[in-house]
Amino acid sequence: MTAIETRGLTKRFGTFTAVDHLDLTVEEGELFALLGVNGAGKTTAIRMLTCLLPPTEGTALVLGHDICAETAAVKAVTDVSPQETAVARQLTVRENLLLMAGLYGADKAEAEKRADELISVFDLEEVRAKRAKTLSGGMQRRLSIAMALVSRPKVLFLDEPTLGLDVLARRGLWKLIRELKGSITIILTTHYLEEAETLSDRIAILSKGSLRACGTAEELKTLAGTGSFEDAFIALAAEKEEL
């Protein structure tokens, strides 16, 4: 079944076109990466798909719900882990998880069950009673992603989840993301080529708001006629970015 289908999805800010007639289809359970350099339109696309930003033109369906006409239904089945770590600083790890479960309508018992499950899955046991502001950057990011999962979304948007993390924290998060694969649909934005290649089932390369290519890492290498994914990305994104 199709999880996301964008139909000419476009966002303009004045004369600047951030996303230009994006047509994409993401299947349920897929880990789909939006890859591009800074300003390619990845975050804007995610903000539209999570109903944070209305499209200027076109629309998208998320699990059959129109992002323009059915925002409540879309919000009920999606969650987002924003680019910057988004945690309530004075709340403990467990309270942060309980908060998000509560915001999505879970009762106390259900919220506690989900929070404790995620604390275990995300290896946050040792810091469960610690306030978020005292955690390391890697731990905060881990909590931030766990907070996006506590609502049990069917589609999870991870916006640059490893941005600014050291290599160990990054690899730790990759492991967690891999474990989520298949159970929910994940849309991952990144400008780390290795991250997209390693984690994703399929990759869409965005450049200046336009879709340049879409396929598996192998398909993209074949399309570009290159031996490495980095060369493929440069070849496919180059025309628009004029590298």
Binding site: T85, V87, A88, M100
Partner: protein, 246 residues
């Protein structure tokens, strides 16, 4: 459940910051003690009469709620936390009430602490204190909604500075630190009486002293401003929520 969860988070964010607690409760009590002692050392003893000082100090403590609410909203807006909240099923009403209502119990605590502290400096324990408590509630609404406006209009780095200016304006124009009657007839005196702050202090003082006839005009003045600030905050808050989506 959604509103409660959000309001609970905001209450914890405010109350778990030791600086917030010490500023909102500790500093007003310190000023009450300081001014009471100073007042007693001034010949005549009428400079800081406790009946007028105590409501003034309550106003001073309320002014910090403006700062806290403003800072909380601005901080959420500046960081990514508002993105997370906005992508949840929270409605605009949930947001507005979630930011404002948890501060009301804090304001009531501030009132209770200030009046209890004032009892040690000569304030009479009577039913009038309960009336003063009720009379000061619209003022709490005014200061909380001022915080909502501040948080919507300015980024977190600016809120601290602008909030401090607001605290100073509120207390100076309320005539807490010096008797405004010394400047009766001046432009400053007229400006003070056009603003709500002096009326808050006077309404509280009238309630404490049981001067019910003099109380009503001041109370109406305060309630009018409270309604104005609340309406303005709803307008600015809803505009800000829409702007965040552009």
């Amino acid at each position: 459940m959604r509103f409660r969860a959000f309001a609970g988070r905001n209450a914890k964010e405010l109350l778990r910051d030791p600086l917030n607690v010490s500023l909102s409760l500790g500093l007003p009590v310190f000023m009450l003690i300081l001014l009471s002692v100073l007042g007693k050392s001034i010949p005549g003893g009428g400079m800081f009469a406790i009946d007028t000082l105590a409501p003034g100090i309550v106003l001073f403590s309320f002014s910090f709620t403006t700062l806290f609410v403003g800072f909380l909203i601005a901080q959420d807006r500046t960081g990514s936390f508002l993105v997370r909240l906005s992508s949840s099923p929270l409605t605009a009403v949930d947001f507005y009430l979630g930011y404002s209502l948890p501060v009301l119990p804090l304001a009531m605590c501030q009132m209770a602490v200030c009046f209890i502290a004032a009892l040690f400096f000569g304030l009479t324990l009577s039913v009038n204190l309960l009336l003063a408590f009720l009379v000061m509630l619209p003022a709490a609404v005014l200061f909380i909604t001022a915080g909502l406006i501040l948080g919507c209009l300015f980024p977190d780095k600016a809120v601290g500075g602008i909030g401090s200016i607001f605290v100073n304006i509120a207390t100076i124009f309320a005539g807490i630190w010096f008797p405004l009657e010394l400047m009766e007839g001046s432009v400053f005196y007229k400006i003070c009486h056009a603003l709500p702050f002096v009326h808050i202090a006077k309404a509280g003082a009238c309630a404490v002293s049981g001067d019910y006839r003099a109380l009503l005009p001041h109370l109406l003045w305060v309630m009018g401003y409270a309604v104005l600030f609340a309406a303005l905050s709803v307008f600015i808050f809803s505009r800000r929520m829409r702007a965040e989506k552009r």
